[in-house]
Symmetry: C2
Subunit: 411 residues, 2 copies
């Protein structure tokens, strides 16, 4: 007998019937003798419906009131799921974030969990109940309702698992695991049996949107075994594990190919060389709350000036451009170029730590397809390149094959 925390997202609880199916799934684990704590999202579409009303009401909806409003979405789900469980003979009790309580800071709409009081939950588990907790929400020290930001239900699940010392945190979603790359791009993509937290972080932040990145960080930090699996299809899913030294040997060099279609590039050319110039440009962009991803700086051909290039989310390109053009003028830079038809492709794998030659293999595979690399960025376990977005699918397929990830190659 073990303690399992299960998280079901909006599409898993999107209708009365789907909630009834979740109840059956939970009941199956109870029948096996496990204690079960469930964290749920709002029924799919509900959060958007609520946000839509808020936007009609106020141009910039008040963040505190926004949290009061949208937190009702999960509150509906927890009550309905408990009813569904009771209807098939399983005792259950629901808790809002405030009732647990899940204490957060006061950053409305993007709060961070500080503490979870697990007493009520343990009492209920001891009494043989399934405990159903509203995901995505908490309460600050003054009792104000807070939310963790979009997708925060994953974080709630992991935080509960950590606080309760759960044996496993299962994240149910509409895909049956983490894949070597997006199966819509590469038909031969295959489900990974397991992946390390670090790899998952790189995969998630690079656009494989299976899990919320904060949830993965949280799980890694508190060493909560995390499993991604499908609500609608039986199967073991993908286990996200700690990267233990002695298991590294068996790791494949590269676990997956990630990509992100949402990037855009800003280049400041001919920046006179002087200390702190790059920081000046980048911090102005950061101050405007624009997230910067890849940054590359090179001395330009004349060796007296620098070329600085970075990428931002496409939706923030025009904002970033305006800021940079102003600073570039102050700095007497030669010009500012922007390009929103780029994409980022990355190979990810803890195995590359101990294997040389991943970069050259990657660059060769791209070169063989005639794909020009605009920028390169590397970390310990990933290598990313920025290329023309027209070559995205071609690049991903070539890399997937090149690193031996195709399904048939392993069969």
């Amino acid at each position: 007998m073990s303690l399992i925390v299960q998280k079901f997202g909006g599409t898993s609880v999107g209708t009365i019937e789907k909630i009834q199916n979740v109840a059956k799934k939970v009941a199956g684990f109870r029948d096996q003798g496990h204690d079960v704590v469930v964290a749920v999202s709002a029924m799919s579409g509900e959060t958007n419906r609520l946000i839509g009303m808020a936007n009609e009401m106020q141009d910039q909806p008040d963040p505190r009131e926004m949290d009061v409003l949208v937190s009702t979405g999960e509150q509906v789900t927890i009550a309905l799921l408990c009813m569904a469980l009771k209807n098939i003979g399983y005792d259950a009790r629901s808790y809002t974030g405030g009732q647990v309580s899940i204490v957060t800071d006061s950053s409305h709409t993007k709060a961070r969990i500080q503490e979870i009081d697990d007493k009520k939950i343990h009492d209920d588990l001891d009494a043989g109940r399934v405990v159903v907790v509203a995901g995505f929400q908490g309460v600050d020290e003054s009792g104000n309702i807070t939310t963790l930001g979009r997708g925060g239900s994953d974080t709630t699940g992991v935080a509960l698992a950590a606080a309760l010392g759960a044996d496993e945190c299962q994240i149910y979603t509409d895909v049956d695991g983490v894949y070597t790359t997006d199966p819509r791009v590469v038909a031969r993509a295959q489900r990974l049996e397991q992946i390390t937290f670090e790899e998952m972080l790189e995969m998630a932040s690079l656009g494989s949107k299976v899990l919320q990145i904060r949830a993965v960080e949280f799980a890694g930090k508190y060493k909560v075994p995390l499993r991604v699996l499908s609500t609608f299809k039986e199967g073991p899913g993908t286990l996200i594990t700690l990267d233990e030294e002695d298991s590294t040997m068996e790791q494949p060099v590269v676990s997956g190919i990630a990509f992100n279609r949402d990037e855009a590039k800003v280049s400041v050319l001919g920046v006179p060389e002087a200390p702190g110039v790059a920081a000046q440009i980048l911090s102005a962009v950061g101050d405007a709350n624009i997230e910067i991803d890849v940054i590359v700086q090179n001395t330009s051909a004349d060796k007296k000036t620098n070329d600085l290039t970075f990428t931002v989310n496409r939706t923030e390109l025009s904002k970033a451009q305006a800021i940079v053009e102003k600073i570039a003028a102050d700095l007497n830079a030669a010009s500012v170029d922007v390009d929103d038809s780029i994409t980022k492709v990355s190979v990810v794998g803890v195995g590359m730590r101990s294997h040389a030659g991943v970069a050259s293999k990657m660059f060769k595979a791209l070169a063989d397809e005639g794909i020009n690399i605009q920028m390169i960025s590397t970390s310990e376990i990933k290598i990313s390149v920025i290329i023309d977005e027209r070559y995205l699918e071609l690049a991903v397929r070539a890399l997937h094959t090149s690193f031996g990830l195709d399904k048939e190659a392993e069969a």
Copy 2:
């Protein structure tokens, strides 16, 4: 400058536009320098939508989870109303029942308010904010969400007014006050400038569904001046006042004519005379949670047996009949008759305390129209008769005219 508690029901906050209108109305009172606390219901239709989902999920939805579910309805409204107020430049803050906190007993779906902590509200009022509180809901001592039962938002408004020592509690609704009778039955019905709590109780319980009866009781008990007025139409509404001795002289003898179409009659004929027999029959009905309204007992013609007749809500007639038939057999009663084509008509007025002859005037007015009286029940300030439902409109019009309540007669 005074402190006003305003309660807006579901039809008053049924759409985005209506909530914006409520915000404007509240703002008007703020502009006059008043402190305003607002209690709101769920948007019309929302509570039924939520209950509908619960009924799909569980045959007899769990009461605790039902409260978690339906309390989201008001939570949505408080957030939206605060956004609407902020959008037109008025600071506002929302509170759920649990946040205020409004402490109730643990009777889920029909909880009673025990205590209100007014500290947060006073702090917000001092800071110049409008305080918006979710009606209908509270929290028990263990932190479980409770609801006050259908229509409980009125009670929340009155309880807040009592706790805060408000100068007036305004109940906004879709009618512009309390009328001498239902204007749909008597075109000449007129709005009352004021009415006493006692009269209002009799009017409300007899079917003039303007205010929830518990709210009126509460207001009377805590001497909260209550005003019923329209959300959609300007006007002073009807003030519900204490029945002070020295104002009684100016009271009309009869304030209004109430009626209730939902009653049905159960008669147990030929019950052998013995102590406790009536109690035995009535307590069996009461034990089944069936509310009994009018009760009449008479010795039958043979003087050896009694005839007992009482009325219940029509929806519970068949249940009551089954119970009574069983007991009647045990008691060797002659027969059980039921009749669901009856109606109750009442004249109500504190003035009748000091005026004889109201009953005879009433019975004469009905006799003049050839209406047979089946049962009679009286209290200090009301006289009710049970008649054939075919004569309802005729009876109400005749009494309205007879007691000088017609609009033109006073003009």
